[in-house]
């Protein structure tokens, strides 16, 4: 059976997955609320609908970050080796990148959570 989990690839791009998810989540949240208020949609759609919608977006973003973190953990060899991974070898480079990606995923996870907290408390639009 083919696993849905991506196989291990060696590229620098995976490092940016979690921060990219955070940035997208940030833009989606800000833009949605701003457009909702600026267009005066409050009379047609309740703010709670927006809140739930953005809650789903937040859950998706967190799931993607967790996946990115798991892949990074795998790349790091599930923590079998301790940092700083500073030898000039291919293996050390891979482990270092895995560890860095894992830390960035943690940071992005917290950033997305903090971004979501105000959305719980926003009362509505101010004309």
């Amino acid at each position: 059976m083919k696993s849905f989990i991506p196989r291990e690839v060696e590229t620098l791009w995976t490092l940016f997955t979690a921060p990219t998810v955070w940035a997208l989540h940030f833009v989606v949240c800000y833009a949605t609320v701003a457009v909702f208020c600026a267009r005066g949609l409050a009379s047609e759609i309740s703010f709670d609908t927006v809140r739930i919608g953005l809650g789903v977006v937040t859950a998706l973003a967190l799931a993607m970050i967790v996946l990115s973190a798991w892949l990074a953990w795998r790349q790091w060899g599930f923590g079998s080796d301790d940092p700083p991974h500073d030898e000039a070898t291919r293996n050390a480079r891979t482990l270092f990148q895995g560890f860095a990606t894992l830390l960035l995923s943690g940071l992005s996870f917290v950033a997305v959570l903090y971004m979501a907290i105000p959305m719980i408390f926003i009362a509505g639009c101010q004309p």
């Binding site: 943690g106 917290v110 959570l113 903090y114 907290i117 105000p118 719980i120 408390f121 009362a123 101010q126 004309p127």
Partner: protein, 371 residues
């Protein structure tokens, strides 16, 4: 002749009033001069004396109360702000103390810890703990926000006051239900207690910021925009508001008096203020008009309808002269008329030192007598 008063009151470079001593000068800020180095620490104290002196400063904490202290709230919004401040302060002190204890422990460590243990400490103490604490503080602050900045749309039935910040004074207009101006006054804001008041904030020149620390947070007044701020006073009293955004040379001399009044007293004042007239003292009024004061100033019930400067109706009741600069005494009014620029640098009012001292005194007496 006109100089006789000058040596008594002078404005020094650091804004402190020289020999000016009035009974209640708190409203003008004259009672809280910026201390120069000459007052404290003159000569060489020995360290022990310094330490004693430092502890003697502790009673100064009592000055956290007062007419202009956000830590001594008299309004609903301000008490939320104060609670937030104290929650942050106590939390910050506890964390700081913990870090200091850890620091001392590390500096005199008797036993060594494994690298793994140190890693655990960094993970839990340096990453997880701050994340949880910051999340809690963020939630608390965001949860408070609707209380600190309550929102009322303009068509709702709330009392509205329009405040316009100008260099370097405050134009205050009380509005009726329809939004029409009932009357205008200056450098003084009166609010009833136990009731929400929406302030509509504007500026024709530069950015100012409207701040009554005992009642709530500050809000900028931005040219071309109309900002709103809602405040609710709970404790009756006389307070002080200030401009909280640097707006020019006399920015620090741009303050106002705030009277939080019982609702009945407030209604009585509004009724009295609507009927106020400057026509009782005809001789003083004639002098006021003859010297052109009416080109800029208005006094209700008279021909004076100038709109450039502060409205002077019922000036005698005001808490200060020159927007919170000097206590409201006749000699200060006379000094201000003679040369406003000496008291408030770059004020737009021209000097009137060409007038006879007796005439200036007479106009000052007239203004001081306005009710």
């Amino acid at each position: 002749m006109g100089r006789a008063l000058r040596p008594n009151v002078r404005l020094t470079a650091d804004g402190a009033m020289g020999a000016c001593r009035m009974d209640d000068d708190r409203l003008t800020g004259a009672g809280r001069p910026i201390r120069s180095g000459r007052d404290i620490g003159r000569g060489g104290y020995r360290p022990a004396i310094r330490v004693v002196k430092f502890f003697l400063l502790f009673p100064l904490l009592a000055s956290c109360s007062g007419v202009q202290s956000a830590l001594d709230p008299a309004g609903r919004e301000a008490s939320d702000v104060a609670n937030l401040f104290f929650a942050m302060l106590i939390g910050g002190v506890v964390i700081w103390a913990g870090v200091v204890v850890l620091l001392f422990h590390a500096a005199r460590k008797r036993r060594s810890y494994s690298e793994k243990g140190a890693g655990q400490l960094i993970l839990w103490g340096g990453a997880v703990f701050p994340t949880v604490i910051l999340a809690a503080l963020l939630s608390y602050a965001v949860w408070l926000m609707p209380n600190v900045r309550p929102w009322f749309s303009e068509d709702m039935d709330v009392r509205r006051v329009e405040v316009i910040g100008e260099q370097f004074w405050w134009r205050v207009r009380y509005l009726d239900e329809g939004g029409a101006v009932i009357f205008e006054t200056a450098n003084e804001v009166r609010v009833p207690t136990g009731e929400r008041v929406v302030f509509l904030l504007k500026s024709p020149d530069v950015i100012h910021s409207f701040w009554i620390p005992v009642l709530g947070g500050k809000m900028d007044m931005i040219p071309g925009r109309k900002n709103r701020l809602t405040l609710q006073a709970e404790k009756p009293g006389t307070y002080r508001g200030v401009c909280a955004e640097f707006c020019g040379t006399s920015h620090a001399l741009m303050a106002f008096t705030v009277h939080a009044m019982e609702p009945e007293a407030y209604e009585t004042w509004v009724a009295a203020r609507r009927k106020a007239s400057g026509g009782q003292d005809q001789e003083g009024l004639a002098l006021f008009l003859r010297h052109g004061c009416a080109a800029c100033h208005a006094i209700s019930g008279t021909e004076a309808r100038g709109a450039i400067g502060p409205d002077l109706t019922a000036f005698g009741e005001r808490g200060s002269v020159g927007a919170g600069t000097l206590p409201n005494a006749q000699e200060h009014v006379a000094r201000f008329i003679r040369d406003p620029g000496q008291i408030k640098p770059e004020a737009r009012m021209p000097h009137f030192s060409m007038l006879e001292a007796a005439e200036i005194d007479r106009i000052a007496a007239y203004l001081k007598g306005l009710r």
